[in-house]
Symmetry: C2
Subunit: 333 residues, 2 copies
């Protein structure tokens, strides 16, 4: 492999580019931007109407701008350094749409769907675009690369569920080194639209949610316990009556709602009692999920992966996938 | 009782005023407006900052404008005709906040919490404001009056669940002539915020939902069946993959989501297998709920109340409640 690799995780609403020393695995520099593929796609459509610029060209141009910025900040040349790109960049609103890989899907990265892009004028890099994975009724783009990056840490149990909390939380079921199933939960987004646009907006205050767990742990726990009810659409209305009856303040009630939704998500894990749980989270949600798993009595079955490992999981995955692809290429040649 | 009664149902986002002949029960005229208490409350706050007008005065003034309009359209005088007012008008954003009545709550209207308002300058009517009902963790304002209005139709079973579909659906548990429990479900509002503001906006098209059921009945049924899953936050994401995988078009998918949410609401009724279900609905939702109850195998336990009875239920309730209050007053005097 080359001495350097450019590792890029381009999601719906964020962009992260890293320069990696391939021998040590060390990250030498990073560009982090809130410009996800959704915004880039919208800009491309406007540009395309004016200049007929192709989508792939436009996306590589945007990527090149960031590579140049990274080169400037590190004061080194990054010409010809190969790029690995994963996340929503391979979706219908990304650089180019790639078909999903299928289940079962190996943790070693050998089954990824990829597409190579040759260097082009204005973009002096070979680029490897990684697709996502689909199940019978679910999809992901990006988390599979993180999973591959974390695979060395996942050897202790034959059956594990990786939990990636977020706007669209993922539960990834891993059996004997293969991803055999996964589920997406709209937990974070449902919380967000209900507290922004529904009648519950008046009953909740999310201004200080991150510190809220420390101050209102009991209310969060109460929400997790309330998720026992099979009638989630009814329990949501209790968030309104909590406030109407003066039972909870609006900041307390935001924690209650968070507990209710995270509890409803995690409760589905009772269906797999003998699977080891692995919490994969590098942001403030880790405390929320730890607390909810504890309330549900699932914490004793849970391993928490260190935040640093999660933070570099995509890049670790990129290194593995690139290595695999190069080996394949050498074998073929 | 007086020859006439003014029957007013003032909700969060709608206003309905009717003139009733108290002897025949016939409705002689009606004013229907999209000006609910929420909008009136906001206007009052602005007026109050300018003129210090009191809330009760402001709300009676608005009511008087509509009474005058009704009198004009019928070409009769409505001076001194008493007014009965129910719905969100008795809430914290209504004319005056009244405490809720408690459970158990009799169907004959004898247990309503009310407040009389004497005539005042510019409002030549006695006004009876009706409060809502609260349970241990739920509230309603307005549906209790409809329930009282429908009570003569509810004699056939000792145990019935009245289902009022809507933005916030209500299930009202009635045992031996008393409301013993009730539950609110945020079904309609969750559908609305998800299709307006979440990622599911791109996966659904709600433009022709009313006709959709006829065209896409199979998709609605599939959604109802999918609500069997205890993981609602996960099933919601299938609405996205239905469209990503080209399985359903956006209009079909709107029906699927509707079935999923209505199914999740109605499934809770399995917990009370020996209660008679009574569907109370006068709008297009009646077809959706009928279909969902059929898919769930609950339709054989269901009675459907005629749309006309539902439409006049609040007014019927007003007549009963007014009668009761007048009898009480006469007994006391």
């Amino acid at each position: 492999m080359n001495e350097f690799l450019l590792s890029c995780d381009w999601g719906t609403s964020s962009f992260r580019l890293r320069l990696v020393d391939t021998r040590s695995g060390r990250v030498l520099g990073e560009q982090l931007l809130p410009t996800g593929v959704a915004a880039t796609f919208d800009t491309w459509k406007i540009e395309h109407d004016r200049t007929e610029i192709e989508r792939e060209t436009f996306f590589s141009k945007c990527l090149n701008t960031q590579i140049d910025a990274l080169a400037d900040s590190l004061a080194i040349s990054l010409e010809h350094v190969p790029v690995v790109l994963s996340g929503m960049a391979s979706s219908s609103i990304g650089m180019a749409e790639l078909p999903y890989a299928n289940l079962p899907f190996s943790l070693d990265g050998s089954q990824v769907s990829v597409r190579w892009f040759a260097p082009r004028p204005g973009f002096n890099h070979r680029l490897l675009l990684i697709s996502g994975v689909r199940g019978p009724k679910d999809v992901m783009r990006g988390e599979e690369t993180q999973m591959i990056g974390l695979s060395d840490l996942l050897t202790e149990a034959n059956r594990s569920v990786l939990i990636f909390p977020g706007t669209h939380s993922k539960h990834m079921y891993i059996e004997n080194g293969q991803l055999v199933d996964f589920q997406t939960f709209m937990t974070g987004e449902v919380f967000s639209v209900l507290t922004s646009y529904s009648i519950l907006k008046e009953s909740t205050d999310v201004a200080d949610l991150a510190n809220g767990l420390t101050r209102y742990r009991a209310n969060f726990q109460e929400g997790v316990r309330a998720s026992e009810s099979p009638a989630l659409l009814h329990e949501l209305f209790a968030v309104r009556t909590n406030q109407l009856f003066g039972k909870l303040t609006r900041p307390q009630n935001a924690l209650y709602l968070s507990g209710l939704l995270i509890g409803a998500e995690l409760r589905t894990l009772f269906q797999k009692p003998d699977w080891r749980l692995v919490l994969c989270c590098d942001n403030n949600l880790v405390d929320f999920y730890t607390e909810a798993l504890t309330v549900l009595g699932l914490w004793q079955h849970t391993t928490r992966i260190d935040a640093d490992h999660i933070r570099y999981a995509a890049t670790e995955g990129h290194l593995k996938i690139m290595n695999h692809q190069l080996t394949l290429a050498e074998t073929a040649s």
